[in-house]
């Protein structure tokens, strides 16, 4: 159910946003598992453990 990314602003929680910044994850490339595709904390943690696919 992940929505299209609107206007370059990912749908994410406040914690996910901060975590993405600190862990160097590009939040726009993360598929969110939350409601309507919202990127959650866990999604960022998972993404940070995976080798980045450019």
């Amino acid at each position: 159910s992940a929505s299209e990314n609107v206007a370059g602003k990912a749908l994410a929680t406040p914690v996910a946003r901060k975590l993405a910044k600190d862990l160097g994850v590009d939040i726009n490339k993360v598929v969110g598992s939350g409601p309507n595709g919202r990127v959650m904390k866990e999604d960022i943690i998972k993404a940070s453990k995976q080798p980045s696919e450019a």
Binding site: L11, N36, R38
Partner: protein, 460 residues
């Protein structure tokens, strides 16, 4: 001469919070207040009205105590003792006002009791003493607006017409009142008088009783007020106000109304006395122009609360006080009025944050609507207070972000905070639809309304 980092002119909910926050941020602060700390809100506004409404609600509940299986009350004997209510109300007010005095001591805020006259951009005079300041926060509040209706001024002078201050001085129950105006405080006082058994007629020019609210809520409230016995005379021009009667022209028909007192609420105008020397930019009604950081056109001067006319409410004044203090202290911060809730403490209550449906239409937003009636909510049913609904507007082009939230119903005042939090977190109806709410609570209606916006509610 005393020197301060910040002088705050006015000790209402805007000024007193600005002073405490500034002091917490390490500034040397003084508050100049000519009257009582707490301003209109604590002394003649929010707290008195909500106290009286809370008592009136109890009175109403007592009258239906049989519905709760409670016996032994002779309804014909139960009465409202206005004098006692006012004394109890005073106790509450005094407690809160003395609370602010304590907060000032605790936070090291200097209080000057007297009329503050601003001399120039860096000096103010109070009781003959000069206070110099780096920054000034104007928090002088507002006064009632009295429109140019024939006889209205005279009626105030004779004591026939009254508003919030006059009402609080009354010692007896009124048999009949006419309420002039259509806004929150007109509705709240109409609710109060009606609830304690006074015969109430509301007369106003517009069609809607609450033109600033979503029209569906305004209309629902109108039906409720009528049902509870209030007479509504809308779309009416008031031709003349006399002590013996009010002359009205409604759709070409001339009518007359009479009552013990006229309760008058026509909105507010800024309170500008004391700041005449400042070259501030104001709007056509005199409200001081401010930006989202509460800055005026003068670099070191801020204006918060009713005096800027943005959203004349106590919690707005207080938060503007926080924002102004932060900006003065070098913390960049802003206010977003579209995420601040407002409440009407009528029976049932109304609360709202963000856009009304009419506004969303005007802005051409591609919105979806979710609605759920309290008549299908268990807690509302078991309390026997089922009138009202939750209405949510979501922006379809922005993941379903919630852009408007409107509640009419018992306890709508407390329920709207959840909406405000969700909207500040840029939450969507999809998020809200997945939040498990405790059973049985009124707030379950919020989830159902969200589900309605997406697909289907479960319990209707």
């Amino acid at each position: 001469m005393k020197k301060y980092d910040i002088v705050v002119l006015g000790g209402g909910p805007g000024g007193y919070i600005a002073a405490i926050k500034s002091s917490q941020l390490g500034k040397k602060v003084a508050v100049v207040e000519k009257d009582k700390l707490g301003g209109i809100c604590l002394n003649w506004g929010c707290i008195p009205t909500k106290t009286l409404l809370s008592y009136a609600k109890h009175f109403q509940d007592i009258l239906r105590s049989e519905d709760f299986g409670i016996g032994g009350i002779d309804k014909s004997k139960v009465y409202v003792d206005i004098e006692k209510m006012m004394l109890k109300k005073d106790e509450t007010v005094n407690k809160l006002v003395s609370g602010i005095h304590m907060l000032f001591k605790k936070n090291g805020v200097d209080l000057y009791n007297g009329f503050g006259k601003v001399i120039d951009d860096h000096n103010l005079d109070v009781n003959g003493e000069n206070l110099s300041f780096d920054n000034l926060i104007i928090a002088t509040g507002s006064k009632a607006y009295i429109p140019n209706i024939k006889g209205l001024k005279e009626s105030f002078e004779s004591g026939k017409a009254i508003n919030n201050t006059g009402i609080l001085g009354l010692k007896d129950k009124l048999d009949t009142v006419i309420v002039l105006g259509n806004n929150t405080y007109a509705v709240e006082y109409a609710t109060f008088y009606n609830a304690i058994g006074t015969d109430v007629t509301m007369i106003f020019e517009d069609k809607n009783i609450l033109p600033d609210y979503d029209s569906e809520l305004s209309q629902t409230l109108e039906r409720q007020l009528k049902k509870s016995g209030i007479k509504l005379v809308n779309s009416s021009d008031i031709t003349e106000v006399r002590d013996d009667k009010i002359l009205v022209s409604q759709k070409g028909k001339e009518k007359e109304f009479t009552a013990d007192k006229y309760v008058v609420f026509y909105g507010i105008r800024p309170n500008l006395s004391g700041i005449e020397n400042l070259k501030l930019i104001k709007d056509e009604n005199g409200f001081i122009q401010t930006d989202e950081r509460l800055r005026t056109n003068i670099k070191n001067i801020y204006a918060i609360g009713d005096v800027n006319g943005k959203m004349p409410l106590a919690h707005v004044a207080s938060f503007e006080g926080v924002v102004a203090s932060e900006n003065i202290s070098g913390i960049d911060s802003k206010i977003d009025y579209l995420k601040i809730p407002k409440v009407v403490y009528s029976f049932p209550e109304i609360s709202s944050v963000g856009l009304t449906e009419e506004e969303a239409k005007l802005k051409n937003i591609n919105y979806s609507i979710g609605k759920f009636p309290l008549s299908a909510n268990s807690m509302a049913i078991l309390k026997g207070e089922t009138s009202g609904f939750v209405k949510i507007l979501a922006d379809k082009d922005m993941y379903g972000e919630i852009i408007g939230f409107h509640i009419i119903g018992n306890d709508a005042s407390n329920m709207i905070s959840e909406a405000a939090s969700v909207m500040n977190l840029e939450g969507t109806i999809y998020d809200l639809a997945r939040v498990v709410h405790p059973h049985p609570t009124l707030t379950e209606a919020i989830v159902e309304a969200s589900l309605d916006a997406i697909e289907k509610p479960l319990n209707i």
